[in-house]
Amino acid sequence: MTQTSDNNPIIICRDVHKWYGHFHALRGINMEVQRGEVVVIFGPSGSGKSTFIRTLNRLEEHQRGQIIIDGIELTHDVRNIERIRAETGMVFQQFNLFPHLTVLENITLAPIWVRGWKREQAEEIAMQLLKRVGIPEQARKYPGQLSGGQQQRVAIARALAMQPKIMLFDEPTSALDPEMIKEVLDVMIELAESGMTMVVVTHEMGFARAVADTMYFFDKGQIVESGPPEQIFKEPREERTRLFISQILSH
C-alpha cells in the first residue's frame, strides 16, 4: 500500500460511489492518473464532476470503492486525510480566499501552521509564487481589493505554497469575467507545462486542447467516455459526447 515508485499512478479510483440521500451522485467511477498527467473532466451540470473531484481530497466522502492518492488510501483515518490534503492543492470556483488576511498571509498561513516553516522562509516562497502567477505587487493587499482573475491567481499560489504533488481545479474560471479567464488559464497552462499533476473540472475547451493528456466526459454520475483530446474532439465514440461538445463549442 505504501509503494510510491514513480511508475505507479498517483491517483487510483476504483468503483467510487457516492449518494446524497437517495440520489446516486457517483455511480462507479474508475480513473487512474499518472504523475505529471493533466486530466480534464467535463460534462453537463449535475453530472457529478465537481462531486468527484471533491472526493479526491475528502471534501466529500465516498461511500463505496477505493481512492488511493500517492499510495495512501482515503479512509476514515483522520491522519491519512490530513496527509493527503497537505499533498493536494485545490482551487475553487469561488476562490475562497481568506478575506481577513493579506495576499501574502493567505499564502503563508498553511506553510507556517501545517508544514511548520519559519515565517521568513514561507514569505520568500510566497513572493516567488506571486511572481510566478504575475502579481508580486499585490502582496500587501487584501483579497477584496483585487479583481476576480487576480484573486484566483492568488488562490493558485496559495495552493502551490504547500508544494503539493497534485493540483485539483474545480471550475476555476466559471466565476470570472471573460477578460479575466485568460490570465488564469495562462497560469494553469504554465503549471501544466512545468510537469504538475493536475485534475481540472472545466468547460474551457481551448485549455483542454492545449494541455490535457486525457479528457473524461461525465454524465449522470458516470464516465461516458475518456481519451486524449484529439480523439474526444475529432472522433468521439459516443453520440452523447459529440452532442455535448458541439453544444459548448457552438456558443
Binding site: F92, A110, V114, Y142, G144, L185, D186
Partner: protein
C-alpha cells in the same frame, strides 16, 4: 503556449470629467436640510423653540438651583466607596498605569490621532488643576505625565514597543486586580483590602471589566459548542444558553448570592466574587448567541479552503473562522458590553455599593436629603461618559479593521 485573443481595437477615449460640484453655503445647507418644504420649516421652528426652552430650564437648574456640594463633598465615595485611604495610592497607581498604556497604544498605532491624545492628556490635567485636594491634584498630574510619556515613547514606532503595548494590555488586568485586592493579610507592601470595602465607580468598573474579560472566552466557547457536531457538547451548550437567557439578570444575581454557597458547601465565596460570577455567567449566554450569529455568516467555502490546505479543525476555527466571525459582530458585542456595564448597577439589590449603591447611601445622608436630581444627574453623566467612550473606541476599531479591506 498561450490563449492570446486578438487585442481589442483602441478607440479615442473621452476625457474624464470632474464630478459636478456643489458649493457649500450656510444658507444653502439650511434650506436643503431644514427648510426644504413648508412642513419641515414648521417642524424646524417648533423644535428649535422646544430645545431652547429645555436647555434654558436645565441650564438655570444646573447653574443656580442645583446644590452640587452633594457631589463634591462625596466625590471620593462616588469614586471608590469605602476603599481605605491608606491604600488609595493603589487605585491611583492603576489609573496612572492605564494612562501610560493607553498613551503608548495611541502613539504606536494611532494615525494622526491628535484628538484622542488631546483628550487623554487634557482630561486628567484639567481635573488636576481644578482639584482642591493636594494628593488628588498630584496624582492627576502624574496621570497626565504618564499618558504623555507613553505617547512619546510610542511615537518611536519600534516593533518592541508594539509588543510592549500588547503585553501591557494583557498584563494590565491581572496587575490591577492584584493592586486593588492585595496579596494577603500579612503582605508588607500590598495588604489585602476586603471586597466589602470596594465600592463606587471602582466596583462598577471592576465588575464590568471582569464581566467582559471572562464572559468573552466563555461565550465564544459556548457559541462553538452549540455548533459542535458532538451531540452532548451541543446539547449542554444549548441548555445553558437557553436557561440563562430565559431568566432575568436580577434572578441570576440572587442565584449567584444564595445558590453558589449551597452548591459549594464549606467554601465561603466572597460576595463581590459571587456577583462577578453572576455577571459573567449571564453575559456569556448572550455573548454566545451574538458570536453564533457571526459564525453563521461565514460561507462554507472558507471551511473547505482551510481543510483543503490541510488545516486541522481547531486551526481552522482559530485562524480563519473566528477572526472573521468576531469582526462581523464587533458592533453587537460592544453594544452588549455597554449594556453589561450599565446592568452592573443591579448589584445594588444584592447589597453591593457600586456607583448606584453609593448614590443611594449618599441620598440617605441627613445633610443631603431630597437631592435626587443632582445625584442621579451626576450618576447618569458618569455612566454616559463611559458608555460613550466604549462606543467611540469600538468605532475606531471597526474603522481600522475596515480600512484593511
Amino acid at each position: 503556449m498561450s490563449l492570446s485573443a486578438q487585442p481589442l481595437p483602441q478607440r479615442p477615449v473621452a476625457e474624464p470629467l470632474p464630478p459636478p460640484t456643489e458649493r457649500f453655503t450656510l444658507l444653502g445647507w439650511l434650506y436643503k436640510n431644514l427648510f426644504n418644504t413648508w412642513y419641515n420649516a414648521v417642524l424646524t421652528v417648533v423644535m428649535v423653540v422646544l430645545i431652547a426652552l429645555a436647555v434654558r430650564a436645565a441650564g438655570e437648574w444646573a447653574l443656580s438651583i442645583a446644590r452640587w456640594e452633594v457631589i463634591t463633598t462625596n466625590l471620593r465615595l462616588f469614586a471608590i466607596g469605602q476603599y481605605p485611604a491608606a491604600a488609595l495610592w493603589r487605585v491611583w497607581a492603576s489609573v496612572v498605569l492605564l494612562w501610560g498604556v493607553a498613551g503608548l497604544s495611541i502613539g504606536v498605532w494611532g494615525q494622526r490621532a491628535y484628538g484622542s491624545v488631546g483628550m487623554l492628556l487634557a482630561f486628567p490635567f484639567v481635573l488636576g488643576v481644578l482639584a482642591t485636594d493636594e494628593t488628588t491634584r498630584w496624582a492627576l498630574l502624574g496621570t497626565t505625565v504618564a499618558g504623555a510619556f507613553g505617547y512619546g515613547l510610542g511615537l518611536l514606532r519600534k516593533r518592541w514597543l508594539r509588543r510592549l503595548a500588547i503585553v501591557g494590555w494583557i498584563a494590565y488586568f491581572p496587575l490591577v486586580i492584584v493592586l486593588i485586592a492585595g496579596l494577603g493579610d500579612e503582605a508588607p507592601l500590598l495588604p489585602s483590602v476586603p471586597t466589602n470595602l470596594w465600592g463606587g465607580l471602582l466596583l462598577t468598573l471592576l465588575l464590568t471589566v471582569v464581566g467582559i474579560v471572562f464572559s468573552f472566552p466563555l461565550g465564544v466557547l459556548l457559541a462553538l459548542g452549540r455548533r459542535s457536531k458532538l451531540p452532548i457538547v451541543s446539547a449542554l451548550s444549548v441548555i445553558y444558553i437557553e436557561v440563562v437567557r430565559g431568566v432575568p439578570f436580577v434572578t441570576v444575581l440572587f442565584m449567584a448570592q444564595l445558590m453558589l454557597p449551597l452548591f459549594l458547601p464549606g467554601v465561603t465565596i466572597d460576595r463581590v466574587i459571587r456577583a462577578m460570577a453572576g455577571v459573567v455567567l449571564f453575559s456569556a449566554a448572550y455573548l454566545a448567541e451574538n458570536v453564533r450569529g457571526g459564525l453563521q455568516a461565514i460561507p462554507r467555502g472558507q471551511y473547505e479552503a482551510a481543510y483543503a490546505l490541510g488545516f486541522k479543525p481547531w486551526q481552522t476555527t482559530l485562524l480563519i473562522i473566528l477572526p472573521q466571525a468576531l469582526k462581523a459582530v464587533i458592533p453587537i458585542l460592544v453594544g452588549q458590553f455597554i449594556a453589561l456595564f450599565k446592568d452592573t448597577s443591579l448589584v445594588v439589590i444584592v447589597g453591593l455599593l457600586d456607583l448606584m449603591g453609593i448614590a443611594k447611601t449618599v441620598l440617605a445622608q441627613p445633610d443631603f436629603l431630597g437631592l435626587q436630581a443632582e445625584v442621579y444627574a451626576f450618576v447618569a453623566l458618569v455612566y454616559g461618559v463611559f458608555s460613550f467612550l466604549m462606543s467611540t473606541l469600538s468605532q475606531r476599531l471597526e474603522q481600522r479593521l475596515n480600512a484593511a479591506r
